[in-house]
Symmetry: none
Subunit: 417 residues, 2 copies
């Protein structure tokens, strides 16, 4: 069963606002096994809205319309849907009563324009709205289930959950949706896809979605079956083929970011970490501490941005810097080792590089970053060259640093088990 | 002139993702006087995408399509648009060359599937993409201006700005749009609006938009006139009335975040800053260093997350912590003063608090944060209680810390001038 969501309101076509209701609705529909095939945002414009509704009703079995049920001239959903379906609008004394009662309860006078909200499309069921004046409407039309809900989330959500969900459920075969996620670092999206496409393209169930962020590829498998067992078996079948193709580049089998996975591995191993950051400027520390409970494994960090901070806080000798330059293997290693020594942590990560846009040299052009990891087993440093803007370079540096630690922790965990 | 935006990608139909590109595009189109009349999100589905494009081309004079230009089987924009317009796809050796060159520059092998990105719709102009493998395409079809851009914002934005904007501009009557921005911290949105609404509601030109983020209210005035002089005069007229109503709560008159304004003030004064962060975990350092050139005024920082880091790196005595608890005025002041002393910076900011969700006590419930500023004039500390989740508490703490320094720097700047 496919659904479409139409969000109505000219404010949703400005540079400031997005239709966020659709995220909630998608989540609820997906849980019933209904896929959202399309989303449309349309302004308070009678013809465009009517055309959008006509198209949706022809294409989809479920159409959810949010917004445009208010009392003003701009609120055109009732009229446009009635016109699109060739139905009439009838005035309902019952709804007017309910609206008048609401105003009395709030001890406020009802404006005359609120009468507009008492019109009902013929054949529609009225869904009472305890949190506002606009009731929702539910309608079945030529095999399409159509619901109109008010735009404010605190009115929309309970109306959908209390009235639309049970009606949808009653019309669906019982289906279960199960999701499995793999997240990958250290491999470009095109290579990930090339490796795993031969597997996932053979399956229409589960459905595979690949999401790419800088050095962070998310692979979602979604199985839809009659039972949990069936769905899990399908997911297992696909991931058993996909996982070996990506190997240790898979950093988690849950829907969690790198910093959360690193935290988990540190907690499991009972180990701690510290950082010494130059070009990432606190980003690694900030990511690690974004995770609740990180104070058990994150000791702290040094953001040694100027050279004086590197020399006086971490004891990096000016001679070492002069001999190797600040963006060098030697300085990265010295930073990580000093952070480890001073914090007493089991591990320490360091970064030194040129985030740009200025500061590049022939030897270390913009995007050059040295990352080091100091551990009980010794220290390693790696050189990277990241492309893109300052923010991207810093994000990539933090992701690669955390991944360096992640791989080390996983090796230890495997060796121990 | 009306525009439509079509965002392509099944990930945009999940409960996790929204099409945020359209906000940027809307802003740029609006600046040319082009209104966005409709937005559509469609999955990686050939027929639906083709139908969406056909509909848009019939309805609108400008159609912007983002996404679906990648190298994988899922990327169907080229094929679907060609089919919708009844045009062919031609293989371009030139584009293949550019893609191959890009991979060589990155010293990575090109996957065979990247060849897909070298197909061009007949009659389309190729828009070179310096930040990715997928070029953009520009096409005029039966009076509609149609552009296809890659989905990643860092590829989409420069392609739109450098290639689509000038082409659109050349086809429009000359109107000038001028924008003025005020950003406000330390006042809730409702109070900002209550104070300034009596002014801005009297004007339809400039248009006023208010955007609220945690302790960061943006007020945008946008004037559209035939000449720059006219537009600037209108903006001046409105802001001359609005600014006195908000006073020193206005932290900038440019479209810049707090960390950029603080950096500007430090640069102007020739002063430096350091940080000692506990609950913000590196976020203040990360924000300050997100600004290019920040190495001239940001010395560095201590992320003293565990108590041992506070005592050993900053010399906070365990007795002081025992006497006052770690979330206290005394510890915040000691942290800021130690960071200032150890860095040699003119100013130092510190934070210590409970970001949650765990760790709250009766004395310091979740959301309690002490922020201190050490300066040549002495030290001050302030206690805050922020509501909301961990991320919000940390964001608010960093924003208030930076604003504390901002106000201090502005007072000095006024005293000096």
């Amino acid at each position: 069963m496919n659904a479409e969501i139409i969000a109505v309101g000219s404010e949703l076509l400005t540079p400031q606002r997005l239709d966020t209701n659709s995220l909630y609705l998608t989540n609820q529909l997906n849980a019933l096994g209904i896929e959202v095939a399309m989303k449309t945002v349309v302004g308070d414009h009678r013809e465009r809205l009517q055309a959008a509704v006509s198209g949706a009703v022809q294409r989809s079995e479920v159409v959810v319309i949010t917004g445009g049920l208010g009392p003003t001239e701009d609120d055109l959903t009732r009229e446009a849907v009635a016109a699109a379906l060739g139905r009439d609008l009838l005035f309902s004394e019952e709804i007017l009563d309910a609206i008048e009662q609401r105003f009395r309860r709030l001890a406020r006078p009802m404006a005359a324009i609120n009468r507009r909200q008492a019109y009902v499309i013929t054949g529609a069921e009225v869904l009472p709205n305890p949190n506002g004046t606009a009731p929702g409407l539910w309608l079945e039309h030529d095999g399409t289930l159509l619901m109109m809900l008010p735009g404010p989330p605190r009115e929309m959500k309970p109306l959908f959950d209390d009235h639309c969900l049970p009606r949808l459920q009653a019309r669906l075969p019982r289906m279960v949706i199960r999701v499995r996620t793999l997240r990958v670092a250290g491999m470009p999206e095109s290579e990930v896809d090339q490796r795993i496409a031969p597997v996932y393209t053979r399956y229409t169930n589960p459905v595979t979605t690949i999401l790419a962020a800088p050095n962070d590829i998310q692979i979602h498998f979604r199985a839809r079956c009659e039972t949990e067992q069936e769905a899990d078996a399908l997911l297992e079948e696909v991931s058993a083929q996909v996982e070996p193709l990506l190997g240790e580049r898979i950093y988690t089998r849950k829907d969690q970011p790198m910093e959360s996975r690193v935290g988990e591995l540190l907690s499991e191993a009972g180990k701690t970490v510290a950082v010494a950051e130059s070009c990432t400027g606190g980003l690694i520390a900030q990511r690690l501490t974004a995770i609740p409970g990180s104070s058990t494994y994150f000791v702290g960090g040094f953001v040694t941005y100027q050279e004086s901070a590197k020399t006086s806080w971490l004891g990096i000798s000016p001679e070492l810097i002069a001999a190797h330059t600040v963006v060098s293997e030697a300085v990265a290693l010295a930073m990580a080792e000093a952070a480890r020594a001073q914090s007493g942590a089991d591990y320490a990560l360091s970064t030194t590089g040129v985030a740009g846009p200025g500061g590049g040299t022939e030897q270390a052009p913009v995007g050059t970053v040295w990352i080091a990891l100091a551990s009980p087993q010794g220290s390693v440093a790696r050189k990277y060259r990241f492309m893109g803007e300052r923010e991207r370079v810093r994000t990539l540096a933090s992701q690669n640093a955390l991944d360096l630690l992640r791989v080390e922790l996983e090796r230890i965990s495997i060796a121990l088990n």
